[in-house]
Symmetry: C2
Subunit: 275 residues, 2 copies
């Protein structure tokens, strides 16, 4: 490594504690789910000092001997009340602008999690108030044609730089279901093709052609497979019972071909597409 910045001189080799600027390192989680036909994200209400009353992404400090990924999984378990499952959790980006936390220099490694619909109002492990917010009800920079200033009715105030993180997180989700099997991560263990289509429609905010969607799913290797038993789902309301499917594997798969979202759904995020 080369020499660092000027302020606290860092020796290229043989450095030890005290030689380097100390940082706090945290993980922040954008946990998404699809529920009631909308994409939602879990936020917690702050009960203390900076940004009191504002809503923030769940998160916390990384332990000295803890891997960053482990810290993210730990926070996910704490916030949702569920133990480490087969959910998908991935790094999003690291945010470390000086002053983003008024108290001290904190670098936050933001993550994105894909969760199926959970038993409704999981109270956070610590007594703070936590709830799902529809992404459309948030006031995020450059989202869904958002003007960012045109405050959505009842949009919560977001703490720190979490509006920025959320915008990037949403972007990631919308892009990722195009070319990976992650849309199934929003579904229960078995699901109908209609339910899977609803995931795409909720995330992208568009309507898809049922027939074409069905053809795409079935010709796309590695996305779904018929549920082991040939049972069907008794219809929720009216309509013919639907065949049940399950995700093809636990992990993430790259899809061939991808399902590209319609151009009009993509245009809304064009200005932020330059990572």
């Amino acid at each position: 490594m080369s020499t660092g910045t000027d302020a606290p001189a860092t020796a290229p080799e043989g450095y030890d504690a005290g030689d380097y600027p100390p940082f706090g390192v945290t993980v922040d989680l954008a946990i998404f789910t699809v529920r009631d036909g909308a994409l939602k994200v879990l936020l917690v209400e702050r009960s203390a000092d900076p940004y009191e009353g504002a809503w923030a992404l769940p998160g916390g400090f990384v332990g000295v001997d803890e891997d960053i990924d482990d810290a993210a999984w730990r926070e996910l378990a704490e916030e949702t009340g569920l133990t480490r499952t087969d959910w998908h959790l991935e790094q999003l980006r690291t945010y470390g602008t000086p002053g983003r936390d008024p108290r001290m220099r904190v670098v936050s490694v933001a993550h994105v999690a894909f969760a199926p619909d959970l038993p409704d109002p999981q109270a956070g492990s610590d007594a703070r108030c936590a709830r799902w917010w529809a992404v459309d009800d948030l006031d995020l920079p450059g989202l869904r044609g958002g003007d960012h200033d045109s405050d959505v009715d009842g949009a919560p105030t977001l703490a720190f730089d979490h509006a920025r993180i959320l915008a990037a997180a949403f972007d990631r989700v919308a892009a990722k279901i195009e070319y990976t099997s992650l849309a199934t991560a929003f579904c229960p263990p078995t699901f109908t093709l209609g339910e899977l289509q609803h995931v795409y429609e909720a995330v992208w905010g568009v309507r898809l052609d049922r027939s074409n969607f069905r053809r795409w799913v079935q010709q796309t290797t590695g996305l779904v497979r018929p549920a082991p038993t040939d049972e069907v789902r008794p219809p929720q309301g009216r309509g013919r019972p639907a065949a049940l499917f399950e995700a093809r594997t636990e992990g993430v798969r790259t899809l061939h071909p991808p399902l590209l979202r319609p151009a009009d759904a993509r245009a809304l995020r064009a200005d932020r597409s330059a990572r």
Copy 2:
């Protein structure tokens, strides 16, 4: 934020120095260029303690009052000897596994930079040895059909977890030129369509059909535009002089349609495609 891990108890609010585990935060850079028909990356040879003699990504500590992005740009300038240009530099991922640096707990924010072909042997600002390495000559996990154990002839030893970072960085580059205009970032200010095609071929390790590539470039909005003067490039060796083009904008643009790499070029990275 919720409560942190056990070791150094972190107060959810009102914490201050000493309450949190101290981390060193660095930036590491994977600076790519295309030269001699191959994708190359800039590495520096370590002259000291851990991993002495091994090759590492250029990088260094982030200053206390320095933004992470600024630190990355600073390192880029130091390593290439050029001031902040219009190059493309983006965050890749953060690596923070305990023990990745044997000396202390360091969290590294890895970046990827796209550079045009530079005046050849830029000596690093500090006297260490720096050179371009062809990606194909490196022994990276799961790359180009790599077995990772089948050591490439003359493959350098890579320091820390930099082999892993490089694999992810290469992956990002290969994916990014599919759907953004970033291939032009490897080209000089004006370039021929043949040169642009060579970029794609070098990065993906495939041959493309000249005719189809040309049609794609020209029908794709926002990629290239004819150079202001209608000059041509005198042929390097033999052949007809070629028309010159320039990148359409400074920034990054999402391409419609994208240029998807052939399936066989994608298969080589399939196992790593699950982020």
